[in-house]
């Protein structure tokens, strides 16, 4: 019966087609697999980016949503009154992970390097309770990561995932190609697959190492197949939208006027009226919006402050049962509710519905910690699929010296990337206390990566994996201590501030550290057994740097 319902595309393909598919699957994965692994692992970690930011920011105050602030109106009005008219085109408001209120009156100015209009003005970080200015960033404020990221660690991990720390637009184009690669390997993997449904539930066979690795590769790939395709699709959408597709479509539809396309797609329709007008109570408009929409307020933007055509846009996280962000529009002159606006356009459309689905499908944040955990699990499976696929490729060619070296590079990258990320965290916390964390965090990553590559190149091949595992284990176990030692938020303060991420992530690192130590011990024992068996038979121990299966 199972055979009848089994999806079995491979049987309809000729041998030539299967061979071609296998070559595309293998070579595409081999040439770009290690870069893809960096994108996948960093992406899997930044699914919990918000929590990492709360855990690592330090100096946190009681976190308030915009909708919970009792004096948003007073704080914003005080800044608007001291801002010259030319910068009141747009005022953006959001809260950061330290619980501060960010208010950014700005206009659009041509960026000299990016050669396109970008937000230019003064971004204030305020104490929401007193309205006191804590920090201020002038000019193209978003160019300074510190203006909108409280944690250099989270910022670095996001940057690594989004652009691999390569300058834009090339970084985004590179990660976009990685997204296409995920889709390509998922499609070819699916088409090559003989028994998709059966393989979802079959455990790996023991004994023969090549077969075991292949079984595990197929098992993890089967479970993450649809997920991989969705992430590849949504990820390449994000990477290409700003750098490639948006400029191309704006050229075709708006003669290259990107601002006109942005206005059509994202801005509420308004008739220009520069007549001076009062601004109604912002707190009241936010409260009305929350009453209508449910979900919490992510950010707020006021267009044309103090003018008759002024509008307030309020962005909500999805409410219960919803997937997409919501948006309400108010007229600022009298506080009148003008209606809900889809993410794209001013009326419901297929384009708006699909656009609204991309964020939850990529970020996995539609059902809180539960959906994020599922996304992390499937992301981990994808990372395993890449490494196990590369290993399979190398194993079949392990008699050739070049592929032996590549096999070592796979091992060093597989275990070294998480180690280098830990090194960035190890650099971050001291820098947070004494220096410039936005400078030192990437330095920590790249210095850590260089040291690991050197260690991996010089280390005894048979002992490399257990050694890397022990380094990872110690790095994880000591991280919470390091965080607390350099003034991170303590558990008691975290409980007072309702920051569950602080103890939760400390415990996760401790548990991962313990697990890695056991894994290292098991791998060590297996290596010893192999060495013993080889000694007894007078043979040579296996040196493919393979951990215990």
């Amino acid at each position: 019966m199972a055979d009848r319902i089994e999806l079995n595309p491979v049987e309809k393909l000729t041998q030539t087609q299967v061979k071609r598919m296998t070559a595309v699957h293998g070579w595409a994965g081999t040439i770009l697999g290690l870069v893809l692994y960096v994108v996948i692992v960093s992406g899997t970690i930044v699914v919990f980016g918000h929590e990492i930011s709360e855990w690592s920011s330090g100096g946190t105050r009681v976190h308030q949503e915009l909708s919970d602030m009792s004096n948003l109106d007073g704080n914003v009005r005080a800044i608007a009154e001291h801002t010259s008219k030319g910068y009141l085109d747009r005022i953006t408001m959001f809260t950061n992970s330290r619980g501060e209120l960010a208010v950014f009156p700005h206009t659009q100015v041509m960026h000299p390097e990016d050669q396109r209009p970008k937000a230019y003005g003064s971004l204030y970080n305020l104490d929401p309770a007193t309205g006191e200015t804590i920090r201020r960033f002038d000019g193209f404020a978003f160019d300074d990561e510190e203006s909108h990221h409280t944690s250099a660690l989270e910022d670095f991990l996001v940057e690594l995932h989004v652009a691999l720390y390569v300058p834009n637009p090339w970084g985004s184009i590179l990660t976009g190609i990685m997204g296409l690669l995920v889709m390509a390997t998922a499609i070819t993997g699916f088409l090559m697959h003989r028994h998709l449904f059966r393989d979802l539930f079959v455990a790996a066979r023991r004994g023969e190492r090549l077969v075991t690795t292949r079984d595990r590769h197929i098992l993890a790939a089967s479970w993450s197949l649809i997920f991989a395709f969705l992430l590849g699709f949504t990820g390449s959408f994000y990477s290409f939208a700003g750098t490639v597709t948006f400029p191309l479509v704006s050229k075709a539809a708006f003669g290259g006027d990107r601002q006109a396309m942005i206005n059509t797609m994202f801005m509420p329709p308004t008739k220009i009226d520069t007549t001076p007008a009062p601004v109604a109570d912002l707190d009241r408009m936010v409260a009305q919006s929350v009453e209508r929409m449910g979900g919490s307020v992510r950010f707020v933007q006021i267009l044309n402050w103090g003018r008759a055509d002024g509008r307030m846009r309020i962005f909500h996280t999805p409410n219960d049962g919803g997937l997409a962000f919501g948006q309400t529009i108010f007229r600022t002159s009298d506080g009148k509710f003008l209606g809900e606006k889809p993410i794209v356009g001013s009326e419901p459309s297929l384009g708006a519905d699909l656009y609204g689905l991309i964020h939850p499908l990529h970020f996995g944040d539609f059902a809180g910690v539960f959906s994020k955990s599922v996304w992390v699990g499937l992301g981990t499976a994808m990372a395993y699929v890449i490494i196990s696929g590369l290993r399979l490729w190398v194993r079949r060619r392990e008699d050739e010296v070049l592929w032996q070296h590549f096999g070592r590079a796979v091992t060093i990258t597989g275990f070294g990337l998480p180690l280098a990320m830990l090194a960035s965290a190890w650099a971050y916390f001291p820098a947070l206390a004494f220096g410039d964390p936005f400078f030192w965090t990437p330095i920590g990553f790249f210095a850590g990566a260089a040291a690991i590559i050197l260690f991996g190149a010089l280390s005894d091949a048979d002992r490399l994996i257990p050694r890397l595992l022990r380094l990872l284990s110690v790095g994880c176990l000591a991280l919470p201590i390091l965080r607390l030692g350099f003034g991170g938020t303590g558990w008691v303060d975290a409980a007072d501030l309702n920051l569950g991420a602080v103890p939760a992530l400390d415990m996760v690192f401790a548990l991962i550290g313990v697990g890695l130590w056991f894994w290292a011990s098991r791998t060590d024992a297996a290596t010893n057994d192999r060495a013993g068996a080889a000694g007894n038979t007078g043979g040579i121990g296996h040196s493919t740097m393979e951990p215990a299966e």
């Binding site: 087609q17 499609i187 384009g351």
Partner: protein, 80 residues
Amino acid sequence: MAGPGTIIVALLFTMAMPFWMPSGAAGVNHVALPVILAPLVWAVFFVYAVAAENIARAATAITGIGVVTGALILISLAGG
């Protein structure tokens, strides 16, 4: 062909979509859908390129689509 070739044709196809796609009641589908669907457009060309029984025919068809969409873009931009 399955790699860079399909990417170029997919980008040409995406750029040409606003010329023939209906904008819908909200007036945004002709610009929103090409931006959203560009990776899927590439995926369709890619699958065809790698899975076709006759690879020469697939290459001809994909190149033909690239030429037609490229011509459509040039004509529309020149006229516009």
